[in-house]
């Protein structure tokens, strides 16, 4: 069968959602951010909430998220996205408000804001991208960096006696009364992308049911920071990150 007979509008099964703009993403090749942006856009399209969604972008690589998703955005000071999202959601309770934060933003400088926003049970969605490194600034150690992991600031590997232990922030947040849905997902293969998409959709639905904060961690890769090519980085993540950051729902009520 000729390819031109297959490529017809009536045979279309998958195309880029229009909520994702045509701008070329500035992320490195193979970066997990792109996949997560795409599935958030697809969820917004499926739920038909483009006009009602407000995102809060962090400081980090994803600071430019507003260039890619065709919804309303605000950009918060470093780590303060949950505080800004709290204000937006309280002033406009009918909107779907989500923050999009990396591990350098959420788990380091923003620890106070995320803990208290989750403890207050603000009806927001938090998307937390954990790639165990500071990507934008050049691959320095983050609180989530694994023991033994080589980064720009731990050239001989992270040592517990010098650098402390990696922070499992999602497990901490699952303890808080204000959260209703806490889960850890990944996006390295088609099955995991579909699962992560379902988790994000559930989180958005929760935020409108006033059940509390929904927290979705996505374990991702940072090829440039890890200095591993994209496909091998996905394998490295499966072998090294998943034993320490196990996937699955931690809380669902």
């Amino acid at each position: 069968m000729d390819i031109n007979e297959i490529i017809k509008p009536e045979n279309l099964v998958y195309k880029k959602t229009p909520i994702l703009k045509d701008n070329i993403l500035h992320y490195c090749p193979g970066c997990s951010h792109g996949v997560v942006h795409k599935i958030i856009a697809e969820v917004i399209e499926e739920m038909n909430i483009q006009e009602k969604t407000i995102g809060v972008s962090p400081v980090g690589c994803s600071v430019f998220a507003y260039n890619y998703l065709d919804i309303d955005w605000q950009q918060a000071a470093h780590g303060r996205a949950p505080a800004l999202a709290t204000a937006i959601k309280r002033l406009m309770p009918e909107k779907y408000v989500f923050t999009y934060q990396g591990d350098g933003d959420l788990a380091s400088i923003g620890t106070a804001e995320i803990m208290h926003a989750c403890n207050r049970g603000e009806n927001i969605v938090v998307i937390f991208i954990n790639n165990a490194i500071y990507g934008m600034t050049g691959g320095q150690m983050a609180p989530t960096t694994l023991l033994g992991q080589v980064t720009a600031t731990t050239p001989y590997g992270r040592k517990a006696e010098l650098n402390g232990y990696p922070l499992k922030i999602t497990e901490l947040i699952a303890q808080l009364e204000g959260t209703c849905y806490v889960t850890r997902q990944s996006v390295q293969n088609p099955a995991s992308v579909r699962k992560a998409k379902k988790a994000i959709r559930k989180a958005f639905e929760n935020s409108q049911m006033h059940k509390g904060t929904s927290f979705v961690e996505i374990v991702g890769t940072c090829n440039s920071g890890w200095k591993i090519p994209p496909v091998q980085a996905n394998k490295w993540m499966e072998e090294n990150m998943f034993p320490f950051y196990p996937l699955g729902d931690m809380k669902d009520r």
Binding site: V13, K15, I24, L25, H33, V35, V231
Partner: protein
């Protein structure tokens, strides 16, 4: 009943990361020898007869460059 598929790649947006190639179950796609204007070896259908239109490549693509078509024959 067999499924036949085909993909269309937005070659200018493709960054040649190869994640789609690693996730293609039918060994249909590969990175091309040619490069786009930004110097990336974009993905293309190396074995178009194999494609079943499963959408795995498009699902994992970080840059959303792949459009998938499928027919039942």
């Amino acid at each position: 009943m067999a499924l036949k598929g085909a993909i269309v790649v937005d070659t200018e947006r493709c960054k040649g990361c190869g994640v789609c190639v690693a996730n293609c179950p039918t060994n249909t796609i590969a990175l091309a020898h040619e490069v786009n204007s930004r110097g990336y070896n974009f993905v293309h259908m190396a074995n178009p007869d194999n494609c079943t239109g499963c959408t795995n490549c498009a699902t994992v693509c970080p840059d959303a460059v792949i459009t998938v078509y499928r027919v039942k024959i």
